[in-house]
Symmetry: C2
Subunit: 341 residues, 2 copies
């Protein structure tokens, strides 16, 4: 049995010293003589006491070494998304290097209450699906770092999405093009659909809306009309949702000349469908993506996209949390001029 149910108190009795001394032997070497410390540590080894109970320490010390990573969607989905999993990788790398533990937390649950008492902080990747959760995150006294969205008074990590979208669009659109946009999470609907009615420049602050702003600015500069009928809403950056939008947009008459996609997954799905329909890319159709996932660089033709490092984001998020940072960070991005525009 590894768990011989030995407590600090037991050990103190056995060695005939106070519990404080045992505790100090493990936590504060300067509080006792080196000799006694050695003696105690050795004795503990011998009798099989492996150090103070962590559950008790968490209560008493008020920290656990556990960092919660709050993922926008449910964990199930996020883990298999290449962008998200690369981000997790970055977070995990830095936490591991600092002996912290990683708790995966779903952003579509109601509350952080069942973990807030014992975790040391939150890294929040994308706006949680559940607004109550976001609200609690702004109120907790535990440190919080947000990524790809903003929360009042919390340090955030972002790229300039408006500018990135503007640049990628500006490079792809030609005068008098017909332009369509395959957007991500633009409205609340759980289905892929066109956006007809919702106000285009709503006061939404999500990255998707910032990207939309950038696209629209570029379109206006290119004398392209902006029409909600040519903007699609896709609820998740996932194959089947994207496929539907791809079919709808490519079967529209007249067909767009340029299609701006808010993620590479969407763009790749569109590209694949276009090829299957014998549409020449970029001859008859230009496509841009967003994110710069590895797969986007492997396809033929390879994707024109905005490249941002999810790994860096993850590493930085963890580091800022551990450092107790208060300032937000704006990360750089790269425009990858691929073969699809």
């Amino acid at each position: 049995m590894n768990k011989n149910k030995l407590t600090l108190k037991d050990v103190a009795h056995m060695l005939d010293v106070s519990t404080a001394t045992i505790s100090n032997a493990f936590n504060r070497p300067d509080q006792l003589s080196a000799a006694k410390r050695e003696e105690i540590l050795l004795a503990c080894q011998r009798i099989g006491y492996h150090g103070p109970n962590k559950a008790a320490q968490i209560l008493r010390k008020g920290h656990s070494g556990i960092v919660a990573l709050v993922l926008a969607d449910n964990i199930e989905y996020m883990v298999s998304d290449p962008v998200a999993s690369t981000f997790i990788k970055g977070v995990s790398k830095v936490l591991h290097a600092n002996q912290k533990h990683l708790l995966l937390y779903s952003g579509n649950v109601d509350s952080i209450r069942d973990v807030v008492d014992f975790v040391d902080g939150f890294i929040c990747y994308g706006a949680p699906e559940n607004p109550r959760l976001a609200h609690e995150l702004t109120k907790t006294i535990k440190p919080v770092v947000t990524v790809d969205f903003n929360l009042d008074h919390r340090p955030a990590i972002n790229i300039d999405n408006e500018q990135a979208a503007y640049q990628i669009a500006k490079g792809a659109i030609r005068e008098n093009d017909r332009v369509a946009i395959l957007g991500l999470k633009l409205i609340a609907s759980a289905n892929t659909c066109r956006i007809y009615d919702s106000p285009l420049l709503a006061a939404e602050s999500s990255i998707s809306h910032r990207r939309l702003d950038g696209y629209v600015r570029a379109m206006r500069e290119c004398n392209v009309s902006v029409d909600n009928a040519w903007i699609w809403h896709i609820p998740e950056s996932e194959g089947s949702f994207a496929r539907q939008a791809a079919r709808e947009v490519l079967n529209s008459h007249p067909r767009p000349d340029t299609i701006l996609c808010m993620s590479d997954i969407i763009a790749l799905e569109l590209l694949q469908y276009a090829i299957s329909q014998n549409i020449d890319v970029p001859g008859q159709l230009r496509i841009t993506g967003f994110d710069g996932i590895d797969e986007a660089a492997r396809t033929r033709p390879y994707l024109t996209t905005v490249c941002q490092s999810s790994l860096t984001k993850g590493e930085l998020a963890a580091q800022l949390l551990l450092d107790g940072a208060t300032e937000s960070t704006l990360l750089p991005f790269d425009i990858v001029a691929g073969e699809t525009s």
Copy 2:
């Protein structure tokens, strides 16, 4: 402030009842009258007490709702591996459905000591890199479920790797073929290399060795000689390691006619390199994979492989842990007759 530092005791004083009653209002409704319970719960809402502190509960109750998922390698790598991340997805799905939390734990750390006191159990995916960790896992009183390897007295989830390897090999090998094997984690080396000296049927119990057993049985039946020089060791199922082995094996003279790969990642890397060298698959070269990842079905030609459901494994692992199962499970597999053999 969400954390107004209210404790059960404070609340008890304010409402002029005992702490036991407050605690019971939250945990054991049958211990007090419905009326009083309502009154207390309402009052708590009003004054902003959001329920018993979780850290204290963990200590007192002895469980936390946290399950540790111990990944064979470092987390950084595992998250981006398609097989592993699908597995995580399955685990997370079931845990989430049961209101449990998921802690990602690296299998290359020394000890589980810093979490064993507060987690409710361990799911162990693949043999941990660190043998001391494996040893601790056999000794702890907390429940443990292992996947793709075995630990004394612990319920395990496996497929019949020997049989699967035998079948896939039997289907691919032709009489008098020259056969090479690209193996995964066959020996301790951190580099891709050929295996010359190590005993072929060593007493190793890893799934890789079981697969090797299956391959060898098939080879013997097909009158194919087994030579350690034609067996490669690849330390991780990762692109660059696989690429090196692919280059080495395809540049060997004479070139093998059939190459058995212990993972799809390896097989796909090999396939890609073979195509780039204008080697006809399956005309001049047959390739088999292992795992059945999605990408293997999307390539042209698509891969002949052993298909096993990582998602099911993950779900089952979590379920067995929660159920306190003690029996091991053998999961079925499918032989996918693809276009590479």
